[in-house]
Symmetry: C3
């Protein structure tokens, strides 16, 4: 396993095994120790859960930590052939191999910048690191994908024995800002790969990118699940899992004012107790804006899985790093692959 | 021991035992090791001593570190029922339990914000973490209290065998900015709990909050000490210990311009060699503005205890964390409680 | 060895031994372990390589880390006798001994501030820490010197068996900003101490400080090398090593607009394939502005040593800290001094 850009690039059996290992770790299994190896954490975007849980995962695995934040380093350039006479002082073509020479794996967080849709769709910062590093590069959220969140969410569903054929509705919600697509993209693909009946519910114009939709359909076909899109906010009402998230319209990329105007009438795209049927569970990646994205009553009630999702970030990441580093350190991976694969 | 908000919430015997343990550690005693446990450090305010000494204390105790600063995470909301459509992206109701799931104790630094006196008097950020965390929460300075400074100062007085009946004068000093009350509150209560004769010297209008004064009096009554207030800047002249600190007037909370005007004539509230009698010692929590709060001659002379106070931050914190973590880790606390308690 | 301000303050034999040890570490030698000791890293200026490689070096040596950045601490004053009623809240006279009481060695990064030439020439921030600390203080780049870069560059030249009499040309390059002299000063002195034929090539008015030039000449005299200055940009064409760097004119210190105007016609001071003879190698400390300081073709071609230089930062620093800490920790230094010294 050579880094991780999106969860769905992993074989379905490996995803299942990583989820199972995360659950074992949650129940107290002892992680492998990789003393003498080092993990690089590069945060070009803010973070609470990811920073804290990656630091802790490194501690549990005995890894040395190398930590950098965007504010304490040089502004990065990613373009090819650029004459660097503006504000970027360092090119990813230098930064990536240099950091690679100090660590055994490099984790990078870099959000969509909303300056240029093409750059964000190319995921230029993450891909720059992935391409120019000599060690595995793991996304801690890029412009398009958040694989560690997806793996934690998958472990959460598995731990609670949510049926693989349950219905998961990812519903768009109103939000005062224009947010990236990474979690939304990752959620539909994770659920489709798990075999679930996945519904994307959003206002017209807020559909996810066509390539993501195509991927989710392919994953659903392979797993025996399904994927469809609706513009009906009431779609949550017969869901087993309601996953809430806001994201910006592809039609208004980088145009915050324009999008704000377009969504003036959409404030009731909010998850409230009325949005959920009896027995339905609520998910969100956090941070979440209370009484904007979801009402206090849902978040503080028994339907909410958000704390378990966040806790599983630690276990999922520990499982992933443990597996990824198992080769170079000479340890065997502690993963138990499903029987049909392990045989 | 379930976290720490202010030093005086601890039994007087425990405070004494922690101070003694800090002194043992200063003399080279070996701290307990808590490998496999993790300490969270959350800095929502700047820091030199606290950051550095907490990092080192964690190292000495073998703890994994999880470190976050306000600038690299989301702006926090603390209010109940708030519609979060402004700039705060995360509520302490999520942040506290999430961080709790990654660490075994959580330390939080959050100054008074001077936006709203009621919020600061409620110490809303620290209390939000304390209320919503599932692990012990330790203050690394909140709006109202700085218990780790108070414990280090207590250890400093004990190490130097300053009489428990010595006279400690906490004197207000002029300062170009409006500063919080945390150290001033903590100093008078620490000294009153130690049994000292405590005098608060400040200009009229700069008295500490009436509830703090009431607490200091109660602590003095219980310990056999005393507490009084004077507006005479000459009160330092017969003190054994002169503790200098600036803080803002409760009457001008958040009104920097108003307070600046009110204190135009108060620049000679500064500690100089003339402020101290022979044999008196000078204390300050640092950072200190030279030749504004205290003159070079005092700070660089033999009366100054500021370096020992700062060094004791490390030992006091190591002692406190060692004791606090002694339960969950299965180790016994290395504290020797005073005889009348240990019997 | 009590700290490090500039590489040339070390005996030539010690520099050689440290370079050799760096190469051993690069080849897989096991560093000494200093468990129980702590290293302080204080970053008052941005950094990618230095931060990351110092964190990793500490991990390899088993050191506890205490890390502070300028943005999370108080603004520092360095002047003597100053009335601190402006924006600096803490004096280096307090900060240095306080941090010294938490760690066993303190590393400081503080660039030239371009406010006042005299302060920068006095290297007031670094010297403040060096003077007031009770533990060794190591420069991670000060206003005038970058000894860790110089040691890594020395190790790079030694690893590649570049002749000690090879010709090294340090060439000034155009750059959109006004940059400090630390790397330029360190490079000419490192190469002169190594015995190389050193040429400083720069436009008229961009010569390095006369004291640095005098030092480089003395070092060259002692080593059997040479040092000269030219204003000819073509001087690189018969070099074995072309080291590129931009720095500001001493005549325009702090006057960015003035310098920008003066260098309007100097944009062709850029290293391109035409600047290098066959077999010449290219060096730069990074970060580097592509197609401004040096063209892509050079940086991505076989002449470029920049990745090895950056990787050697880790090994050189590990060697230096390992040697410096060998006394207090009771371990012997793993250094093999050259025969004429070791005898």
């Amino acid at each position: 396993m050579n880094g991780l850009y999106k969860l769905s690039e992993l074989d379905a059996n490996l995803v299942e095994a990583l989820s199972n290992r995360a659950t074992e770790l949650r129940r107290g299994a002892t992680p492998a120790r990789y003393e003498g190896l080092a993990l690089g954490l590069l945060f070009l975007a803010p973070s609470l859960r990811t920073q804290a849980s990656m630091q802790r995962a490194a501690g549990l695995l005995g890894l040395d930590l190398v930590q950098l934040t965007g504010s304490s380093m040089w502004k990065l350039e990613t373009g090819d052939g650029v004459v660097m006479d503006s504000d970027a002082a360092e090119h990813v073509r230098e930064a990536a191999p240099v950091l690679s020479s100090y660590v055994d794996a490099l984790c990078v967080r870099s959000f969509a910048r909303f300056e240029d849709l093409a750059s964000d769709l190319a995921d230029d910062v993450f891909q720059g690191f992935a391409q120019h590093s000599s060690v595995p590069v793991v996304s801690m959220e890029s412009a398009l994908w958040h694989p560690l969140q997806a793996l934690a969410d998958r472990a959460t569903l598995d731990q609670l024995k949510v049926s693989t054929r349950a219905k998961l509705v990812l519903t768009w919600t109103w939000h005062p800002r224009s947010l990236p697509h990474a979690v939304a993209n990752s959620t539909v693909c994770m659920a489709a790969q798990r075999g679930m009946d996945v519904v994307l519910a959003c206002p017209k114009g807020w559909e996810l990118h066509e390539e993501v939709i195509a991927q989710a359909k392919l994953l659903a076909d392979a797993s025996g699940g399904s994927f469809e899109i609706t513009n009906d906010p009431g779609a949550t009402k017969d869901a087993d899992i309601v996953y809430a998230k806001s994201w910006c319209s592809l039609e208004s990329w980088g145009d915050t004012a324009g999008e704000s105007f377009k969504k003036l009438e959409l404030r009731d795209w909010q998850v409230t107790p009325d949005s959920l049927s009896a027995g339905a569970r609520f998910m969100h990646c956090l941070p979440v804006r209370r009484n904007v994205v979801v009402s206090d009553a849902v978040l503080d009630g028994p339907a909410s899985l958000v704390q378990r999702q966040a806790e599983n970030r630690l276990h999922a990441q520990t499982a992933l790093l443990e597996h990824m580093l198992s080769g170079p350190a000479g340890c065997e991976s502690p993963l138990q692959l499903p029987a049909e694969v392990g045989a």
